[in-house]
């Protein structure tokens, strides 16, 4: 018997061997519990997918990737993959979840979880040096972890940590509507604790298995405490590149570090080029080789570029999705039959074919993807106009109704989806007027509009999204959904490690979402992009993450 880093691992191995646990889930859980990826793979009996060997990688060259260069205020506030990509080349995470959902140590050497999953010991790598010379220490890590838990900073990490590191409390003040103002704080002074110069301990209030995954959430960069959360050219970081130039709306340029602790970088320089909002510009830039690739290309763009001889198309299934969410507290949608009718109105395949040109897989209105480890399969239901109409009639809308649906004009697939959905809702007598607002305005109302279309990014765990978006009063609960039973089940599921047990709970949660939930969720997106064939080492990450130190250019 091997020495496992966590006492629960043998049970996992058993379950896997007895086929109670799928390979994916086994790999994920085992690595989360601290088993090394190579060990986990060998137990799973498959070869670990290997990146290209460092020695094979050609050196030098400049790589240019087309991507929006948005303004960056504070890396811990990074809220879009594009923003975090700009930072990611300079600053790094403690962990790294790969495209197969397997979490690896990154700035950590390893981690250890207690049996009850309440105590996590993080071992910081000792060979990591900040670009400006000093070594990375546990103090740096503690500062960063504590910082994201400060509500005044406003990092979205706060939401993820809530429930096990962070608690909500009543400030005693009332807001203008008379509701109690709530704020957040670490549940205990010792929640984040420095053990020694290279060891940090997290003391959680409740069991949490996904801690290593959370540490890879995109704002969770490890910053130099001396820079107080600022970022720009020359910013200190542990990463493979040094940023030399950054102009919002134009570009971000990087120079390779020669003393990087890890493998790579192979490139001399790296560059993000802002091509603006016009998707045609991206294609044109690729066509005329002004950029070597794009950070993302939607299905329509791919369709245009797949015939370019010099580029390769990369695809990855993601849990990126879009939901047409209804406010159950709105008069139109308060009857759950209306919400159900809306779900029955949708022909998912058709939506995928039209708005994504086929680049998607059908979703089941509960925001849990088949690729999520927690997924529990429920019976599928097809489009059923008659049933939908009947439900509407029962709910008091025999002739349907008319409503606005708020959406964004960009990216175009969102708008296209809105149009296709609206067209399908029409068939059950619901006239949907699309209200497309410029992004800035959209984000102003995205939680307030009674009916709105919202894209949700990729997350490795379904419970992450569910707790962010559908738990009562959750920070990003745009649908104002509040269901005590759901909340209870969700908390329960988060604590259950045993997959069998958990899938029972998940099935209930999914059922609630399908029956009572606030969303119509047509599909999961297949995420894709194009990169010049001369680029080696490129892997498409479902979170749209770019790790430029892995890439190299094969000189012609």
């Amino acid at each position: 018997m091997e020495e496992y880093p966590h006492p629960k691992i043998p049970a996992l191995v058993d379950d896997f061997k007895s086929e109670k646990l799928g390979r994916r889930e086994f790999l994920r859980f085992a690595t989360l519990l601290g088993l090394s990826a190579s060990a986990a793979y060998s137990i799973a009996g498959i070869a670990m997918p290997m990146g290209a060997k460092a020695d094979d990688m050609p050196k030098g060259g400049n790589l240019r990737i087309g991507m929006r260069c948005m303004e960056i205020k504070d890396p811990h506030l990074a809220d879009f993959a594009e923003r975090s990509n700009v930072i990611r080349q300079v600053c790094e995470y403690l962990t790294f979840t790969d495209r197969n959902n397997i979490t690896h140590p990154y700035l950590l050497e390893k981690w250890e979880a207690s049996d009850d999953l309440k105590t996590w010991i993080l071992h910081v790598r000792k060979d990591v040096k900040w670009h400006k010379g000093k070594p990375l220490t546990a103090d740096d890590v503690v500062w960063n972890l504590k910082r994201v838990c400060d509500p005044a900073i406003g990092s979205s990490m706060l939401g993820l940590f809530t429930g096990y590191l962070v608690e909500e409390y009543d400030t005693g003040e009332k807001d203008s509507a008379g509701n109690a103002k709530k704020s957040s704080r670490l549940w205990s002074d010792k929640a984040i604790e420095k053990v020694d110069d290279y060891t940090v301990r997290l003391n959680c209030s409740s069991p949490q298995i996904a801690v290593p995954e959370h540490l890879f959430h995109y704002p969770m960069f490890i910053l130099d405490p001396e820079e107080k959360g600022s970022f720009g050219p020359g910013a200190n970081g542990t990463g493979p590149f040094e940023m030399t130039e950054f102009t919002v709306g134009k570009n971000a340029k990087y120079k390779a570090r020669t003393d990087y602790w890890g493998t790579g970088p192979y490139l001399d320089t790296f560059e993000f080029v802002d091509l603006g909002d016009n998707p045609g510009a991206g294609i044109a830039a690729v066509a005329s080789k002004q950029v070597d690739g794009l950070s993302e290309a939607d299905a329509v763009q791919i369709n245009s570029m797949k015939n370019f001889p010099h580029v390769a198309v990369y695809k990855v299934e993601t849990t990126q999705t879009i939901v047409a969410r209804m406010h159950p507290d709105n008069d139109l949608f308060k009857d759950k039959r209306v919400r159900q009718a809306m779900r029955f109105a949708i022909d998912r395949e058709k939506v995928i074919q039209t708005s994504l040109l086929g680049a998607g897989t059908p979703a089941e209105d509960h925001h849990v993807a088949p690729s999520h480890p927690e997924y529990a399969a429920l019976p599928k239901y097809p489009r059923d106009i008659e049933k939908a109409k009947k439900l509407l009639a029962d709910a008091g809308f025999p002739d349907g109704f008319e409503t606005d649906m708020v959406t964004r004009p960009d990216p175009i697939w969102e708008l296209n989806t809105a149009q296709v959905l609206a067209e399908q809702f029409k068939d059950i007598g619901v006239k949907v007027n699309i209200k497309s607002l410029p992004s800035a305005q959209y984000w102003e109302v995205w939680t307030k509009a009674p009916f709105s279309l919202t894209a949700w990014g990729h997350r490795p765990l379904a419970v992450m999204t569910l707790s962010l978006a559908y738990r009562s009063n959750a920070a990003w609960n745009e649908s104002n959904y509040s269901n005590p039973e759901f909340d209870k089940l969700l908390t329960e599921a988060e604590g259950i490690l045993d997959p069998k047990q958990r899938s029972v709970v998940m099935a209930k949660i999914e059922g609630i979402m399908q029956d009572d939930g606030p969303i119509v969720q047509p599909f999961w997106r297949i995420f894709s992009t194009v990169i010049d064939k001369k680029v080696k080492g490129f892997e498409l990450h479902p979170s749209q993450y770019i790790f430029a130190h892995q890439y190299a250019i094969v000189q012609a």
Binding site: N278, S304, Q353, T354, S355, E423, S436
Partner: protein
């Protein structure tokens, strides 16, 4: 002495008002313009009774081969919707919004210009100064700032067009009125105790008509372009309303594989704008004094 004018004047048509319009038919330019404009107007008006496919309903089958075919004469767009139907229904929007915006802008602008030109002095100074400020704003910026801030809708496009074009129209009207108010028939009207409003509306306005109609045509053309640009910037009318500028924007992405998707609405815009421009040019030519 014999009464004058008993002999009919042979060379002048019986009804000069109609003759003025009839003159359009002599100008080839105006005719081509009229043809282009009426082509779209007729299609737009008849759209509901034409045997068209739904402009909003995707045809998933057609998406495999979206090119023009017997089923879809102009092909389908990236969402599998019939482009012909979208173009024709899009014409309804454009032909409603653009003339409506221009009409409102003209009303405001003409009023401003009339008042400024007729009263002159301080009133003129205030109105002209105000116009100068608006005109110093680059037009497109004005549109973008306005629409980005008040949001895209028919009303807002009308408002934006009015703010952007009224000063220009006012300036033209003012110039015309400055000349016309010196005319003796205006003095004659004053001498028979006509009210100022009457003089403006009955004595002055009809004589500005020609220039203003020409200017209006040009402005409709320009407004169509602007609506297109707004659509292209994502500030256009909300989908799924077929919006020509939006159609171009939606399909620029597939330009290299399905160029017809952007080229067709582009041609539609160009043809309609060209129609109004030609019409304006032809009218100017035909009504030249």
């Amino acid at each position: 002495m014999a009464l004058e004018g008993t002999a009919p004047l042979m060379n002048v048509a019986k009804r000069p008002a109609r003759a003025k319009w009839r003159r359009i038919f002599r100008s080839k330019t105006a005719l081509v313009g009229l043809f282009l404009v009426s082509f779209w107007v007729v299609l737009a008006v008849l759209a509901p009774i034409l045997p068209l496919q739904s402009p909003t309903k995707p045809d998933v089958m057609a998406m495999a081969n979206p090119f023009p075919s017997a089923a879809h004469w102009l092909g389908v767009d990236i969402l599998g919707r019939d482009i012909l139907a979208r173009l024709i229904f899009g014409a309804r929007t454009v032909l409603l919004v653009a003339p409506l915006s221009v009409a409102v802008a003209m009303t405001v602008g003409i009023s401003m210009g009339m008042v400024a030109g007729y009263y002159g002095g301080q009133v003129d100074a205030v109105i002209s100064r105000f116009s100068d400020i608006i005109l110093a704003f680059p037009v497109l910026v004005l549109y973008v700032v306005l629409i980005a801030n008040i949001g895209p809708s028919v009303i807002n496009i009308v408002i934006a067009t009015t703010i952007a074009s009224a000063p220009g129209i006012g300036r033209i009207t003012r110039g015309l009125v400055l000349g016309l108010k010196q005319q003796e028939y205006v003095a004659a009207a004053r001498l028979r105790a006509e009210s100022t409003l009457y003089i403006m509306l009955v004595e002055l306005l009809p004589n500005c008509r020609g220039m203003l109609i020409v200017d209006g045509c040009l402005r409709i053309g320009y407004t169509i372009i602007t609506i297109g640009i707004l659509g292209f910037l994502g500030l256009g009318l909300p989908p799924p309303n077929p919006d020509w500028g939006g159609m171009v924007k939606e399909s620029t992405t597939v330009l290299n594989v399905w160029p017809f998707m952007s080229v067709e609405p582009s041609i539609a815009i160009v043809s309609l704008v060209l129609g109004f421009n030609l019409l304006a040019d032809g009218l100017r030519e035909a009504w030249k004094p």
